[in-house]
Amino acid sequence: MNETREPCAPRGAADFCLSCVLTCALVAAAVAGSFVYLGIDFGTLFSVGAGADMARFAASFFPPDLEPDFLRKTAYGALQTFAVAMIGTLLAAAAGLLLALPAAGRHGAAAERLSRFLLNLLRSVPELVWATLMVLAAGLGPFAGVLALALHTTGVLGRLFAEAIENAPPQPEQSLLETGSGGVPAFLYGTLPLVWAQSVAYGLYRLEMNIRMAAVLGFVGAGGLGQMLYFHLSIFQQAQAATVLIAMFVLVLAVDALSDRLRAWMGHS
């Protein structure tokens, strides 16, 4: 009945993916090349004393400094770090979502190019550079940190959101567009429920990164745990550094748990 169909022939050999093999070989070559270029020798890592040496380093962090005064300072630092990271991430998530829609090719090719370039630009400037610029723009202090994180993170989240949107199955949104719905409502009803969980996960994950990134922002006066860690590690106050590390760890764990809880609540087993 369908003359156009080609007769079936088990053409398995033709399906062997040549370009896949080539890509794999290329990647492997790049990796090998990198190790050779850097001249890395991990041999000593497995030498006799290595383990003991590293263990001694790790042991120097114990016991952590648990004096009430220092704990209070750490707690305040942790709160401030969290606040900076949270506000920065929230701003970035909002801006990122707005830019992700055109970047996923929803408003024409020109808008796609433009928003993609904008996202790339925001992202290619490291947090640290944004921080320097923002200190000049807004003065020394946590707000500069917020802005720096927000600007860089917008680029990151915008890209991740855009790709999640592109990867989502198109049928639900397509079917809404076919009923004449506008682009934005169709996105909200058709695609958002599909990418929501992943996007929130990316956002929370970025929040966690930003908490750690505050370490780098510490020295522009953004304060918080980052500056404390930098300070105490620099002057070999391992006990204090350990307390700060524990505080960071707790923050990361909390965000992790929040992420898990939220995703479970949004219906993913």
């Binding site: 890592l45 401030q80 606040a83 707000f143 590690l233 993913h268």
Partner: protein, 280 residues
């Protein structure tokens, strides 16, 4: 069925309303102290003095530095940075892939039912997740200082530190990606007696491969930017160069380095697009 009585008096109120309203309120109430702590003052941006300072600084970005000596440094740094990023990501994958396969719920056959071995499975999963968290919760610099003791100053310690923290991050994100797509195909394979790898390869990867790849490429790009941390232990690179020029407020050099960063990001982006197309 009881529906007929309900049919007469339709529920005109959404049962979820109260919870939604409540959570929104809680979120708003919590947001306030955060804004205070972060000293959120957008108007400071439009302060004339600040604008002038920033304007003159940005003015310093032009013209970009193009002296041959600097460009030589830059080329070296770029090559080294790319090599460090590639090596670091390669090692990170060695950590991330097994750990994420271990801790993905959608691949746990004991979740179905739940069936036998769920205690062991759950503990393995929890251990996997805890390990991932631990690896990435300790900042790169701490790992780097630890490896310096064994490997000495130089790129080796930096690469290892990068591999460990990035392994933790990649592992976590891989897990989340694998759990956020449609997991029914994987479940069907587990229900037909297939193993963990089979369910991964036939049920999840066809849908997730693109996203996994693009995330990995993105991480590579992050590793390029993270070379500032590698600089701490003598594995220089672009980040260290950037750090210096920014500290010295040397706009011309910063502009040139930023341009290199942008080129690398564009390269990563097109690489990711190519790979995604190949996997479509």
């Amino acid at each position: 069925m009881s529906a007929s009585t309900q049919a007469l008096s339709p529920p005109h109120r959404d049962p979820d309303t109260r919870a939604r309203l409540g959570w929104t309120l809680v979120a708003l109430v919590l947001l306030w102290p955060l804004l205070v702590l972060a000293e959120f003052r957008p108007w400071a941006l439009f302060d004339a003095g600040n604008l002038r300072v920033m304007g003159s600084f940005l003015g310093g970005f032009l013209p970009p530095a193009t002296s041959t000596e600097f460009l030589g440094y830059l080329l070296d740094a770029t090559l080294e940075t790319m090599a460090i990023a590639t090596a670091g990501i390669a090692l990170a994958l060695l950590l991330a892939v097994p750990l994420s396969i271990l801790s993905t719920r959608a691949l746990a056959v004991s979740k179905i039912g739940p069936g036998p071995g769920r205690l062991g499975d759950r503990m393995a999963r929890a251990a996997g997740r805890a390990l991932l968290t631990f690896l990435r919760a300790i900042p790169e610099i701490v790992w780097a200082l630890m490896f310096v003791r064994v490997l000495g100053l130089g790129p080796a310690a930096g690469v290892l530190a990068l591999a460990i923290t990035y392994g933790g991050m990649l592992g976590k994100v891989y897990t989340e990606i694998l759990e956020s797509i449609d997991t029914r195909p994987a479940r069907a394979i587990l229900e037909a007696g297939g193993g963990r790898f089979a369910a991964l390869a036939y049920g999840l990867l066809p849908n997730a491969a693109q996203e996994l790849t693009s995330y990995t490429v993105y991480r590579w790009e992050c590793a390029v930017r993270a070379s500032v941390i590698m600089g701490f232990v003598g594995a220089g690179g672009l980040g260290q160069l950037m750090d210096q020029s920014m500290k010295m407020l040397n706009g011309g050099e910063a502009a040139t380095i930023l341009f290199v960063f942008l080129v690398l990001v564009l390269f990563a982006d097109s690489l990711s697009a190519t790979l995604r197309r190949a996997l479509a």
